[in-house]
Amino acid sequence: MFVFESGNVAAATGVKLARVQVIAAYPITPQTPLTEKLSEYVDAEELEAEYVAVESEHSALAVCIGASSAGARAFTATSANGLLYMSEQVHWTAGARLPMVMCVVNRGIGAPWSVWNDHQDSISQRDAGWIQIYAKDHQEILDTVIKAFRLSQEICIPVMVCYDGYYLSHTYMPFEVPEQDQVDAFLPPYEYRHTLGPENPTSLNTVTLPGGRPDIHGNFAPGYMEIRRCLHLELRQAIEVYERIDSEFKAMFGRGGNPIAERYLCDDAEYVAVALGSMSNQIKDAVDELRDEGLKAGLLALSLYRPFPSEFIASELSGRRGVIVFEKALSPGNSGALFGDTRAALYECTSRPFLRNYILGLGGRSYKTSDFSGAIRESVEAGPEPCDQPSWIGLNR
């Protein structure tokens, strides 16, 4: 069934189809319409779930942590300062290896206050141990939410589904809503390997010493560092798992096929733009414009940001003349985070392209399609000049 709805409703629809059992949320713009919609589904008994209207984001994720540990599929969503307020819990969720999905409706972080879009919120949580997937349209939001629940459950690692505030959350687009029985066939009921309960008493997240320690039977148990390494290794494996899940999804629903990134006119491209989220849609238009001018441009519209698909990036970008990374986030005092990651992934390549980094759209600063084509043109003209510092798009001078 096709509907014409907002990105937030697309997310809520995915959550409902995933038969989430516990939802906890605290209002923050631009996430609010998503969780309002979910509360409506619960009130109208269209979704059989517990909706916990908590007093803070810190508690929102705490409720989900409790619920997920005790055997229920849990969901929350937030934006900007809400995500930072729950940051302790964000790290905790990954450390506790809880299958969970959270939507981050991307918004700039205060101070100064901004309610408008950029990616600084979720990017600042990139080292929390969550999987991060960025959607670029409403259909991707819905589909990614469903796939994310499956992925999270298979590998016991939480997944953040990120999408742009306003650009996606509050705009309307048509998207297809899959049938419930098909989603049920794709996504099995919630199951967690260490469900907390009286049947099998267990202590979760206890104090763990720097060194390993034997249990009461004399068997060596891992220490903190082994546990963290395990999370890292399984995050690396998550790339393959997600690719498999995506291909199953495609076989069943006919959509997908680009779990890591969508390659737009990349095959023969000499210059490739790299970006996260909805700006990719505009960059496609910029690429078309440049192609018309005879410039061999392409776009790698990245979806999977954590775990970072370094091998994929290296094989896609090695041998190109130039790579231009567009970002709505910045590691202040350094460069854009995605730029740093991309550059690191390319270090081992024998045929390294030059790299340029453009920062744009912070706190909702507007940008045009011509900004992207202009930036790519500028990069081509500058050529392989070493360029450590990012350039800025749309600054008032």
């Binding site: 810190h58 942590i65 905790w92 997240n205």
Partner: protein, 301 residues
């Protein structure tokens, strides 16, 4: 349980905590935990934020508790307990007991927002705050419930200058299903109140005074003695609040008719943390306690 009070004779022999755990000698919490779990039973999930209890439980992969325990972040005991309850409801489980067990710092300071929210939402679980009146696990720093005059690691010279928060009263202002205060010196009263709380729906709050030899500067053998003195001098009051009605529990109710209540200095004397208290402050404290009991007498007799 209603008709039969808990005594040392009818308390179950079954143990839910292993001996040889990491509690300090003479730990008030250790006694409470042992007796408390006897009242809670095995069909339960405990939620524990950082506190001495985190350490007492043992270090991975060894645990002193035979029940399921979810360790959570410092500020989130009440919200994580809400999540556990929500998950049980979603699974149609109406029998498993959910108990958050936190310290005074985790309750009166960093955790009060989550707890306040949980009561307002009408959550269904038991919240136990064991009050040893400072951040003992981090080395005895002042908390919201540290009494005025107590020397702690960060009020080392003059003692704490501010009054303590009256946490059970703050909780009672939210009108939860049940509020009770207890003391480690009266373990059977604690057992009875837990049993009663668990028979009720909604949020139940039990505040329990837990003397701490290491943090209070008392001899390990005096945990119960000092705990009793807090009640017998009228400083710490044992009561229950149900439907807005406060009822003194027997050890405190006795003071209503007692001719002469021992002075608070009997309680303060054996504790090194009160060594900085001046006679004048002790006298003022005595006047406050006397006034409190005058009010109780006028209201309850």
């Amino acid at each position: 349980m209603k008709d039969q009070k808990t005594t040392a004779l009818n308390l179950t022999d079954e143990e839910f905590v292993y001996p040889g755990n990491r509690a300090c000698a003479g730990c008030g919490l250790s006694m409470l935990y042992r007796v408390g779990l006897k009242a809670i039973g095995r069909d339960a999930i405990l939620i524990v934020p950082p506190s001495c209890l985190t350490v007492m439980q043992g270090l991975y992969p060894i645990s002193s508790t035979q029940l399921s325990v979810l360790n959570v972040t410092f500020a989130s005991a009440a919200s994580a307990a809400s999540g556990v309850r929500a998950a049980l409801r979603a699974q149609k489980n109406d029998h498993t007991r959910v108990v958050a067990w936190a310290g005074d710092g985790g309750t009166s300071d960093i955790g009060i927002q989550a707890l306040s929210g949980a009561i307002e939402r009408g959550e269904d679980f038991l919240y136990i705050c064991y009050d040893n009146e400072a951040y003992m696990n981090t080395g005895v720093q002042r908390s919201g419930t540290t009494p005025r005059g107590a020397v702690t690691a960060n009020t080392a010279i003059h003692g704490k200058r501010e009054r303590s928060k009256d946490l059970p009263t703050i909780i009672a202002a939210h009108s939860p299903a049940y509020v009770a205060s207890c003391s480690a010196a009266y373990p059977t009263d604690f057992h009875d109140k837990i049993s009663k709380a668990l028979s009720l729906k909604g949020l139940k709050y039990i505040h329990v005074h837990a003397p701490c030899p290491s943090g209070w500067g008392i001899e390990e053998r005096l945990t119960v003695t000092v705990g009793k003195l807090a009640v017998e001098t009228g400083l710490y009051v044992l009561y229950e609040i149900e439907d807005g009605e406060m009822k003194l529990s027997p050890p405190s109710a006795r003071l209503l008719t007692k001719k002469k209540i021992p002075p608070v200095s009997d309680y303060l004397g054996p504790q090194r943390r009160f060594k900085a208290l001046s006679e004048a402050v002790i006298e003022k404290l005595q006047q406050e306690v006397d006034a409190k009991w005058e009010t109780y007498r006028s209201q309850m007799m």
